[in-house]
Symmetry: C2
Subunit: 326 residues, 2 copies
DNA sequence: CTGAAAGCGCTTACAG
DNA sequence: CTGAAAGCGCTTACAG
């Protein structure tokens, strides 16, 4: 069939198929919906015609009759975040397999934008949403989407969330360095006004210091590679003989500094791991936050909520480094 | 309004609003569609009620009357590609602002998967699609979506595309190194079975060699950081005194090797730039492929096609490529 | 096993 | 300026 005729062709409807098959619209509809109460020969005839003419029922018309266009929304903070796009990839894949449409938006760490996006998704009538939380996001209305909301990375009472257990990751890092006889284990992290990435991790480090009776050596800074470089320098000057890095970027920055200074043998333990970090120091000890798994868990959790399979609000699952609060 | 009442509440329709306002459905519909032929007081009254009760017209019902649910599809190869997620971010932003829904899928360099995705989008009746091409993607049916297709990174006759001018980028890199008195300018690239990233860039390098009467020193390898490290080592052994790196990962790998060897003063020029590369060598010369701009251009191009402003299907847009000396 | 009819929530010519 | 009516492409009780 050429382009010309395709363009000229009117869109086929269920009425056309019915006429072609010499049956009523209802019967075609039944075949479309796999209703078994249709004579087998009639089914065959209708399916044959549908295939021949390439008829596709209108999703919109079906939606008019409460066969909703199945869709969910995802709001990431930044697509450029490797943690987030790993998780996103899993979420998209999961819902695609379950024949859901997936709407993706970026909040850019902007609470107002987040709310605008959520409103849009309400209006689009998505069945549920998953979003990456951040420190200043503000309170989320947990009744939206019939409660079909899953947050990633932050927690709010009454809303299910999937978080990574970064305090435990810090503890593992600390223990590892200690076992390798480090005496002056330092911490390179981001400022505590960031709750998840900053405060929680710093607190975990301090706790390990107390338990192990080691004097804390702390440098808190911003999020960029350059901050990791400068921070590492500062910690070396403060006499650190091992460093725990609180984020992937800080880790990379620190490792670059050590490379430059020819001190790559200084023990480093890191929260989060990627190929970039591996190549800077193949021997690094890292606690993998497993964001792909986080995404997968979030998807499954939302799916079960939407299907009503999960009424329990207090389940706590904890696969490896991942901490789930359902 | 409490959760209980919300749940109990039936969904409001245009009929409810009409009753509440004491007018006909048609009049409410006109107000909804900003028809000016409605008495101003009537408009005000209706709008007030709509706001008070929080009525939102059903997008699905509107879609039944040829006010299509405006949507487009995007197929990236990998969300984890920084080039692609930069472009994606711009595309989503653009269409979001124009009130389009955006469906995102990953092809994972799999031609079959790409086709499945395209079929799904046909079925979803998106108005157009943008996708990132790759070497083995196979032929694309250019008549789909009424021809509203924009490809990124590869070209096919009859389909609009946005590509980066990487041969020109190579040339700039070469010229820069030459001006800085490099004599043995080597090329570190990926295998030529990858047309865009491999063959085109290698050919451009060879051409520059001929023009400048410089003997080629070539190392072709795979895509990972480790390949960049090994490749750089090989080129140094072959006597290179300057290196052009064909991809971001190879650049990063090469720079890590130079750092390890204490040879960071060796001149390197790169195709593509990111913070990671900058931190490894702040003095690097890089030709920025500007993927954010690529995304923006692709979005604009598709939008114009869908609006019928652009009848030419062979348009190839190449965003300006600015050179960065960081 | 099958068809005619009503209905989903809108839009838009048509007639006033 | 406004309303009654027809229609968009389906689904699904209802009646055979």
């Amino acid at each position: 069939m050429t382009l010309i005729t395709r363009k000229a062709m009117k869109k086929l409807t269920i009425r056309d198929i019915a006429a072609l098959a010499g049956v009523g619209k209802s019967t075609v509809s039944r075949v479309l919906n796999n209703d078994p109460n249709v004579k087998i020969e009639t089914q065959a005839k209708i399916r044959k015609i549908i295939k021949e003419v390439g008829y596709k029922p209108s999703a919109v018309a079906r939606a008019m009759n409460n066969q909703p266009i199945q869709s969910i929304g995802i709001i990431v903070t930044r697509l450029s975040s490797s943690a987030e796009n790993q998780a996103l990839s899993e979420i998209i894949d999961f819902f695609h397999q379950h024949e859901y449409e997936v709407l993706v938006l970026e909040s850019r760490y902007d609470g107002e934008l987040l709310n605008t996006h959520i409103e849009l998704m309400v209006q689009k009538q998505v069945e549920g949403i998953i979003f990456f939380g951040f420190t200043d996001q503000g309170e989320i209305n947990k009744d939206l989407f019939n409660g079909n909301i899953v947050m990633i990375a932050v927690e709010q009472s009454g809303i299910s969330s999937v978080t990574t257990n970064s305090p435990l990751a810090i503890q593992h890092c600390f223990d590892h360095l200690k076992e390798n006889n480090a005496k002056r284990i330092a911490f390179l992290g981001v400022h505590v006004n960031d709750i998840q990435t900053g405060k929680l991790r710093l607190d975990a480090y301090k706790k390990s210091c107390i338990i192990n009776k080691i004097e804390p050596i702390i440098h808190l800074t911003d999020m960029q590679y350059i901050d990791g470089i400068k921070g590492c320098k500062a910690l070396l000057e403060a006499g650190a003989d091992a460093i725990i890095c609180g984020t992937e970027r800080l880790t990379a920055g620190a490792l670059v500094h050590l490379l430059r200074e020819g001190k790559s043998d200084l023990p480093v333990a890191a929260i989060g791991i990627n190929d970039y970090i591996r190549i800077l120091n193949p021997k690094i000890f890292a606690a993998d936050l497993q964001y792909a798994k986080v995404g997968k868990e979030a998807a499954i959790l939302l799916f079960h909520k939407m299907k009503g399979n999960n009424q329990n609000s207090d389940t706590v699952v904890q696969p490896l480094m991942t901490n789930l609060i359902v």
